[in-house]
Symmetry: C3
Subunit: 462 residues, 3 copies
């Protein structure tokens, strides 16, 4: 029996042994690894009171907690409610969208704390990872990459596959992030490259490997109903509103966080208008399409991620948002069908339009604005602070920095595509309980529901 036969045998979507087994094994591993490696850092440990005195810190308010916790909670909402609800637009996959999003994220943040901890927060004196609120934010960011990837394969994979995809995704993310931020010393406050470009191409590559030629058998479920579109708008709006917190959450204290929030706020506002314009322009009678409003309005936030902390200028942010709204909306109208028909990439949520293209634009904008940075605009100290031209990088100049930013974008692309193809091949093994082509986009497969035949018929009619 060849590999092809194995792959083509009837699907068994009973995950009763596999799902609990994977959850238990992974959670137990997390407990053991956390027991060996993870401790509180000096700001979350009871010794903070001594640390404060030793470092002449006048007030508890200077604990990093108070600089970052409000932004952390906003990011947290984006991860769980934002991404979760954005994907509820399918008429019969709302449970899977929210529930598996929840599962992926809850596992991912633990694994991310470890992976990122080893690279960034390891205390070499005792071999422990010391965590504080900034680690929590970074773990949420790391998970965002995997949730973006989930958007590309939404409705076509099993929860076991998603957990495998997350395990590999977080691992790849941490390595890629280390290379981009530490080795290349590129800046990427809002993660246009590190999170969005990587995450989107990771998901798209997996989707390409898992291509389903007969997916149209599930066509009657691959769409929205009125109420599911309203639910999806909850996700859109929480992502849109809290994106300034996303891009500013780990920016420099003081002006860095302040400026990142302003730039993102403006880019997003601009995107909404061009999204509406293009959406209306390409429909026969000028009607708006909810798919565009739900997704393309967010493209400006993605594209301004890398440069959010830079002196992009308020009008610079508006310009970035302006073009991303146009490109993303046109992507839904023209590029998504091309991707599916010619490149065999089935992209359920259109992450190519929302994350991949704007992410790449964001990387390019970041490289250009870094290369164009001058002492006149930034001030001597400001330039040094913004780009961390200190220590081994003390002699780097903006033009060189621009080059390294561009290199960072390439690294993100390579990790996304390469990693996605590898993980896609792993997920193609016929052991993960994925649904048959005629059962995609259907909560019935993995969820206890109380839907009677009549109700289903009603939805088929629509």
């Amino acid at each position: 029996m060849g590999i092809r036969d194995v792959c083509d045998r009837p699907k068994n979507t009973n995950v009763r042994c596999r799902l609990p087994a994977v959850c238990f094994v992974w959670q137990l591993s997390m407990i053991i690894l956390f027991g060996v490696f993870v401790r509180y850092n000096e700001e979350s440990d009871t010794h903070w009171v001594d640390y404060r005195k030793g470092n002449n810190i006048t007030s508890d308010i200077e604990n990093d907690f108070y600089f970052r916790y409000p932004s952390f909670q906003d990011v947290h909402v984006m991860i769980f409610v934002g991404f979760g609800f954005l994907m509820t637009f399918l008429k019969r996959y709302s449970f899977g969208a929210m529930g598996f999003n929840f599962l992926i994220a809850a596992f991912g943040i633990q694994w991310a704390l470890l992976m990122q901890g080893w690279f960034h927060s390891l205390d070499y004196t005792d071999g422990k990872i010391k965590i504080g609120v900034e680690n929590l934010i970074n773990a949420d960011f790391c998970v965002a990459g995997c949730l973006i990837a989930y958007g590309a394969v939404l409705g076509k994979v099993s929860p076991v596959q998603l957990l495998v995809m997350t395990l590999f995704g977080i691992t790849l993310f941490a390595v890629e992030e280390y290379i981009i931020l530490n080795v290349l010393h590129a800046k990427d406050a809002g993660g246009s490259m590190v999170i969005h470009t990587f995450g989107a191409y990771y998901g798209l590559s997996i989707s390409w490997v898992l291509y389903r030629p007969s997916l149209d058998k599930s066509n009657h479920l691959n769409g929205s109903v009125y109420h599911s579109d309203v639910f999806a708008m909850i996700g859109t709006l929480f992502l849109w509103m809290f994106w300034p917190s996303f891009n500013s959450a780990i920016a420099d204290h003081g002006d860095g966080q302040h400026r990142a929030a302003i730039n993102t706020y403006l880019a997003l506002a601009s995107t909404v208008l061009t999204t509406v314009a293009i959406s209306s322009l390409f429909e026969k009678t000028g009607k708006l399409d909810m798919v565009h409003i739900q997704n393309s309005t967010l493209a400006g936030g993605v594209a301004v991620g890398t440069a959010a902390e830079f002196m992009l200028s308020p009008y610079g942010s508006l310009i970035v948002g302006f073009f991303c709204g146009i490109i993303s909306t046109m992507g839904y109208n023209h590029f998504s069908p091309f991707l599916e028909e010619k490149l065999k990439i089935q992209d359920t949520c259109g992450v190519h339009n929302l994350h991949a293209m704007p992410g790449v634009i964001g990387g390019i904008v970041g490289a250009i604005s870094a290369a164009a940075a001058t002492n006149t605009v930034y001030g001597d100290l400001g330039l040094e602070n913004t780009f961390d031209f200190t220590g081994p990088f003390a002699k780097r100049v903006p033009t060189i920095q621009g080059g390294f930013q561009a290199a960072g974008l390439c690294v993100a692309l390579c990790f996304g595509i390469g990693g996605g193809i590898f993980v896609g091949l792993v997920l193609k093994l016929p052991i993960w309980g994925d649904p048959a082509d005629e059962n995609c986009f259907d909560d019935e497969i993995y969820w206890e529901t109380c839907i009677k035949a009549t109700e289903l018929n009603m939805h088929r009619e629509q």
Copy 2:
């Protein structure tokens, strides 16, 4: 062909050219104006590090960002999710409620940054507007006025009309705000006068000019279904919960923000009980009406806006909330039908009960509590800080301040009513693509939807 004939010709709701054109023109104008005028202020610029040293600021935590950003995000949620979802109660206008709310707000905040910037944040040394987080909050506030106005005309106008209404609304708002806050030197932390009174009368006047005698042709869609009422409660609750942030967002650092939050929290709690009481009292069998719970519970937050920062006392806040719950709920039962039948004002969301009356009450409460302020209660320094009796206003006393507060209320009313009538006449021109009387409250006109005849029939039956 007379003007009447032009106005009465069959409606053309195809906005395929007009909507994109308006969006593009306005967004491009924003980019150009931002390019000419808008820059970062000293707290969001990379020169902050020099500014900090120059002003002996010991820590980055004293950047205004950390005083105001959490409140800003709460206000942001109120604008986009709060107002957006509050209006989803109509059975077939949820897309329009959320989507056009989104569009208005995204455009409005840009235009508000400019208009308010010219009046309040212009740096006369270089002719630039310098923006920081407080400007973002004020822009959101400014937009709130227009979204309140949208509530009065919900379902009866086209998105093009809404964009025109927003352009004028923001402009009028900025002028009115300048007169009230700067010329009259009235205080209005939560905007009872500046935001709510102005916004509500602006919307009601527009609705009066655009009166539709045959609106009952759309009666079958002018109501809620079970799920749409649940969606609307998302809006209600986020508005209710974050209202303390709204009223305290731009209050004075320290005790000012603290006190404004407490007063608002208490006023809102009190309002809920009297709303429930009156709602139950006026139904035959004591049943509660969702319309009241969704709207009148918020009236206390509106009415405590002006006085939120004052020493209103906890029980004073409860009393304000107590009466507003009663007045607002009785407004829905008795005053709204009167407005529609006698005054020809069709007020879809009942903004007269939620914003107009409580806003006027708020202005009066503010005037009285300002006039009654004493050194004994406030302390010498406290009185000076709270009312900004400094510079040219150093000699003003509380009783005089009370008079100027009352004058401020009149200004808000005049701008609301006068501006609304003017803009209403502009919107009456038959070029904006508004729906016919039988197509009001229907997403079908401006949105791609997948609603089949059967589903619509089901909703007609209800």
Copy 3:
């Protein structure tokens, strides 16, 4: 006519006189009591500027408002949206779930400010309660206990009963809290004992006294539909995301809040995986059950409440979450039917699995980790700060503290069960307008709805 006859006469659910009367009387009482007793504290009063100077506080940012307001708003969202939407899962009780939750909470926070104020914030120099942001958080916490109790009786009581239940619940809570936190000097930052154990047993005892043998007459409404499960997930996710704020909101400034947030974040993440594992394991084909995802995923946050502020270690938090996910999910599968059939406790939302068992576990974890605290781990000053071993408790040692923690758990249990039985008997009086057995779980009784026969039939079919 005996008492039995009185209790068994046909139900009259017309609350037209009773509900408004109770609302008015209680709100007026609040106004009078606030007038007599409640004033601003030194951080929310205009004299703050003098207080600052007198206490050498360098910046307004050290006002407690900036330490706690972001957490307060998160807690506020949990109370109103979190609890409110979590209970919307019933197909025809979403209005009651959100609306009565809103009513209970709005009344409860006022009464809690008074009750807790008398015990904790009374200024003996002038006999006034001085309130600030910490009081608002504590009032929200206090209300949480009553909302947990509401979960046990959801759909089976009238709003009048709920207001009575809240009046007594808040009173009992304040006394119990005073005994546990002040007399026993136990620590309970996240309220595992004070809030969850008390609240859950209070509700379960009431439900036991109000046992309805014929509740199966309402069986057709005692379940969810697809969309109501999605609404409930809004509640779940906001509770889950903001739980770190809940457990850290009133923890010590600096490392205390920081550590409590980290511990809670980790415990909750761990719970999600074991909940999914057990949910899948106990269904025939490995499908997941929304009831588990909506509820059991939160158990870790409950169980880590008491010990959140302690040096529980990151892996300690994961272990607590691990077991609570298992126990809570198995509770839904095995213990809830036993409770209903054998113990005659009808627990609509399964608060026994979500709050009671995890709350008790939390109390035990707290006692053990307090008893195990050492100077080596905490540092001398850290130990003193964390457990407040100052003043009359300066000589207490960790092992003794562990004993007092355990005693605190017993107090919470006694108050919950004893208080619940007493209040249950009060609520059994036939004067409160509760629904008949065949009208439970139905919004029709207390809400104006527009549901036609056809729609209801459709739902009965499901």
